[in-house]
């Protein structure tokens, strides 16, 4: 069953790229097999956890050996404005004996204890490699627990070995679709309710566009799943439109919500000024199509005009200092293309973008923004090659995640974090200004002159 689901997820018909493919190509799917022996990213379990853990008020229980939770416990700067239950690491800590005897009973008891202690609105149970290999039926245990304990217990069947982090994101969405969304009926559904899919509130980015929506009278019914509460997500089928941010991750969920509840969706981004404006326009358009007051359109344009003018004024002083500076983007997914435009808007040149964890759709968007230059699309780059790029001056700075930062820094190259450990939000107009400020602070920091100079006695 899981296999079938995976095949389906990897052949997403909702994806624009897939729709353009031949039958044969479609069959291969957009998943990509990994190279044994090369450094790789996270697994499907990691991906599912990333996609769901931002739901802040539930218990996230990992059914596996200690390390799956021990290693992943609160490793992302995904913020909450309320409960911090999500930051606690729950696990069944499967050991030798469980592997022989099976872990289903242990899992059931752990669920029971977690509910007794924390009284959460729901429990999410994550399957892992070990739980899966020893044949524990997580779906069945969760079903039994839900019935007997009266609290929804959601199985997330995404053991690490089934594939990449990206696949895990999708399996996480699948769990929401099957077990959560539509289980609560709100009494206040309105014509301006939307959901945002694939936004995890890393460094509080949600709150860089939530106020913009609020000013337009648009209500964020649920963010899936940054800073979310369980019951918000459960009731989000009443929204009038969905915006998919990290399309590779949750576009399948959006498609299924459209099929089941008729909610239209579009793929967009809040990185960069024009992308932000486009996103707001699209939201307004879709809401109006579904019955919102047509004045929303004018109000949206007014807000865009005001905010863009402000943002450009703020960015002006940076332009001269950043023009022509060469950036290597080493990230993945939506950021492999969405950030390109943001950087180009202040006159920077993107010399390469890694599309490691990106879908074909992501890749084609990135390619378009890079002027069709295929050479600029990089796959994984080994540390040695990356170091050479910086040493040879092919890039002036890198934007990436924490694991690769030290290669740039060793090569005395400015770096800023745009992945999950970042401490600044970069979304929407304010975030764009923040991003540019961080880039400026970093690339123009006087430390680089210092750091790049060899010991002065080496010169003499």
């Amino acid at each position: 069953m899981l296999k079938a689901k995976i095949a389906e997820l990897m052949h997403e018909p909702g994806c624009a790229t897939n729709q353009a493919k031949s039958e044969g190509e479609r069959k291969k799917g957009c998943g990509k097999s990994l190279t044994p022996g090369a450094a790789a990213g996270g697994c499907a379990f990691d991906g599912a956890k990333i996609a769901l853990q931002p739901i802040t008020d539930v218990v996230h229980l990992v059914h596996g050996p200690i390390a799956c939770e021990g290693n992943s416990w609160d490793g992302r700067n995904s913020w909450s404005s309320g409960s911090d239950l999500y930051r606690k690491g729950f696990t069944t800590d499967l050991t030798n004996l469980d592997i022989i005897a099976g872990g289903e009973k242990k899992l059931y008891k752990a669920i029971k204890q977690a509910i007794a202690k924390h009284n959460p609105p729901a429990v999410f149970v994550y399957q892992t490699c070990v739980g899966s290999l020893i044949g524990d039926d997580v779906d069945a245990v969760c079903r039994a627990a839900t019935e007997r304990l009266g609290t929804p217990v959601i199985p997330v069947n995404s053991p690490g070995f089934v594939g990449s982090k990206n696949l895990g994101n999708r399996l996480g969405g699948e769990a929401l679709f099957e077990h959560v969304i539509g289980t609560v009926e709100p009494d206040d559904a309105g014509p301006c309710d939307i959901n945002i899919l694939g936004e995890y509130n890393v460094a509080g980015e949600l709150d860089q566009f939530r106020p913009l929506l609020a000013r337009l009278g648009i209500r964020l019914r649920a963010s899936i799943t940054g800073d979310a509460r369980y019951r918000e997500v459960a009731a989000c089928h009443t929204a009038r439109a969905n915006m998919v941010l990290c399309s590779q991750a949750l576009v399948t969920l959006a498609r299924k919500m459209k099929e089941k509840w008729g909610i239209p969706y579009f793929e967009g981004s809040f990185y960069g000024i024009s992308d932000t404006s486009d996103a707001l326009r699209n939201i307004a358009r879709m809401l109006i199509e579904r019955g919102a007051d047509p004045s929303l359109s004018d109000r949206t344009e007014a807000l865009i005009a005001e905010e863009e003018a402000k943002a450009w004024a703020r960015l002006e002083p940076y332009k001269a200092r950043l023009a022509g500076r060469k950036v290597l983007l080493y990230t993945g997914g939506v950021k492999s293309w969405s950030v390109i435009q943001a950087l180009q808007e202040v006159g920077m040149e993107v010399v390469g973008s890694s599309v490691r964890k990106a879908t074909e759709a992501d890749k084609s968007k990135a390619l378009e923004r890079l002027g069709g230059d295929e050479e600029k699309l990089a796959d994984a780059i080994t540390p040695r090659d990356m170091y050479a790029m910086f040493k040879d001056g092919k890039a002036d700075m890198m934007l990436s995640g924490g694991r690769s930062q030290f290669v740039a820094l060793k090569a005395r190259t400015p770096w800023i974090d745009i992945n999950q450990e970042r401490h600044h939000g970069y979304a929407a107009y304010d975030g764009m200004v923040a991003l540019v400020r961080e880039i400026d602070l970093s690339i123009n920091s006087p430390i680089w002159a210092q750091v790049r100079a060899p010991a002065p006695w080496e010169n003499s």
């Binding site: 697994c43 390390a67 696990t91 509080g204 540390p383 924490g402 694991r403 820094l409």
Partner: protein, 511 residues
């Protein structure tokens, strides 16, 4: 609007702005369908009670906030300490990504580690193909001198046989026959990273002593002492401090698994895929040493047993920290090497004792909770007793009965140990209950303790792996007399900070 370009607020202050406060309050009131604040607070208060503590300790099936990592993390750390060695994980790629993140976040250095990305197919048919292809690719891509293989749960559950698989891979010329590929089976569901460390060091010895050219017999003594530091987040500075002691004493040694250069490479314009590490030839020769000392008992149990089986003298210590911990190490080294402890080192000892005496008025009678790996907790507790601080709660998720007995003996030997409690196999959610019901003046542990600090208001002192949220601490030693001095200062600084923060009237200039 919340942000203005003239004054961009970072996240730390942004959410204190009035518009955000209102926004979040509204969201809470209208959308979250949550229980009332009153109820939430009631529940919160209850979770601080003795009653809850008892329920919490009755918990058997769920582990909440465990403070341990898995075997392969320890194996990867151990493997990283050898000359141009690539740590390789046979199993899911996600695990390897975790290990790299974990080590990079702590050491602020890139961490090399690859996996052979086993998938569902491998789960059914076994991971042989992945291993063969993986070794080939890894050697080609990263050009190591040695590849050290450990396993994830997945490979263990399906029962892959590394010894046979590696032999097949060599037959298939994935790597040359004489290319070192030591291995260790490291199932995550047994033991923890300290056991994985032990397994990998043993695996590496075993490769050079028994498998590279068949069984090697010890030859003429090379006069050296082998030292196995164990899994240690402060290894960068501690290994250097150890070498300084050994050099000062004139002892010839091999530090087995020396990560001090690996996780502290300079930024000087040279690319280093590998740096430092124990020379492979030194490992080959280590069989001829006078003796092998493990500095962390729980990290070298099996290795020492194996070394002893080769007829070599062995000794096992518990993280040489504090006065008596360092004394014990120096004396053991002196005994086994036949070299005296020089006066310069004795003077350092005297200076540490002097500092302890100077500050006794501030340390005496204080209470501390300690958590971390078994050797660390043991040695930290011992040092605290030397300072007159009561280690009220000693908690170790990855320890068992042997450790518990050892801890209890330590505490029983001190007049300040009477009220101290030992908690083997408990997690940080247990510790939370302990701290609410029997509070201490400080918590000593890792960055994971910051949530305890926030919940309980008891200051955290970061002194063990992992330290993710402070930079460069591992570049200063915790072992030896200098390390103890630094540890003392860390403790005192927090004591003084609390004194300053909580006193308005007695905000004194001299302390």
């Amino acid at each position: 609007m919340p942000q203005s370009a003239e004054n961009i607020k970072d996240h730390i202050s942004l959410f204190s702005e009035p518009e955000y406060k209102e926004l979040l309050a509204q969201k809470k009131a209208n959308y979250e369908c949550r229980p009332s604040d009153e109820k939430v607070n009631e529940q919160l208060e209850y979770s601080k009670s003795w009653e809850y503590r008892e329920k919490n300790f009755a918990r058997k099936q769920a582990v909440i906030n465990p403070h341990k990592a898995c075997q392969p993390l320890g194996a990867v750390f151990a493997a990283a300490g050898f000359e141009e060695t690539l740590p390789y994980v046979h199993g899911s790629q996600g695990c390897a990504a975790y290990f790299r993140s974990h080590l990079a976040r702590h050491f602020k250095e890139a961490s090399a580690c690859v996996s052979d990305s086993m998938t569902e197919d491998a789960a059914v048919f076994g991971g042989l193909n992945n291993l063969v292809e993986g070794l080939l690719n890894a050697k080609h891509l990263y050009k190591p001198k040695m590849i050290a293989v450990s396993t994830t749960c997945m490979a263990e559950v399906i029962g892959d046989d590394l010894s046979a698989f590696i032999a097949t891979a060599k037959e298939k010329e994935a790597v040359p026959t004489d290319f070192p590929v030591p291995f260790a089976h490291t199932p995550s569901f047994v033991g923890s990273h300290v056991v994985g460390y032990d397994n990998m060091i043993k695996g590496i010895f075993n490769y050079f002593w028994d498998r590279e050219k068949g069984e090697v017999k010890p030859g003429k003594s090379n006069g050296k002492i082998n030292i196995i530091p164990g899994f240690d987040g402060y290894a960068v500075a501690n290994n250097r401090e150890l070498k300084r002691y050994l050099d000062t004493m004139g002892v010839d040694y091999t530090l087995v698994g020396d990560v001090s250069e690996v996780f502290d490479t300079p930024t000087d314009g040279t690319f280093r895929m590998y740096d430092g590490g124990t020379k492979l030839d030194d490992v080959r020769d280590a069989i001829n040493a006078k003796a092998t000392i493990g500095l962390q008992h729980y990290c070298s149990d099996k290795t020492l047993e194996y070394v002893a089986s080769k007829g070599q003298a062995t000794a096992s210590l518990n993280y040489p920290m504090g006065v008596s911990g360092t004394d014990a190490m120096l004396m053991k080294i002196s005994e086994l090497s036949g070299k005296a402890i020089p006066e310069a080192i004795e003077k350092e000892r005297g200076r540490l004792v002097d500092a302890i005496a100077d500050s006794q008025g501030w340390t005496h009678g204080k209470k501390a909770a300690v958590f971390g790996d078994p050797d660390f907790v043991l040695s930290m507790a011992s040092f605290l007793l030397e300072l007159g601080i009561e280690p009220t709660h000693c908690l170790c998720t990855n320890a068992g009965k042997e450790w518990e007995a050892q801890m209890k003996a330590l505490l029983a030997a001190s007049p300040f140990g009477a009220d101290c409690q030992v908690w083997a196999g408990k997690d940080l959610w247990h510790l939370r209950s302990l701290l609410f019901t029997e509070p201490t003046d400080m918590i000593i542990g890792s960055s994971y303790g910051k949530y305890l600090e926030k919940d309980t208001g008891i200051p955290l002192i970061r002194l063990t792996f992992p330290v993710f949220d402070r930079h460069h601490h591992h570049r200063f030693p915790t072992m030896g007399y200098q390390g103890a001095l630094r540890t003392l200062v860390e403790i005192l600084d927090r004591i003084f900070e609390v004194a300053d923060a909580s006193s308005d009237i007695s905000y004194d200039l001299t302390r």
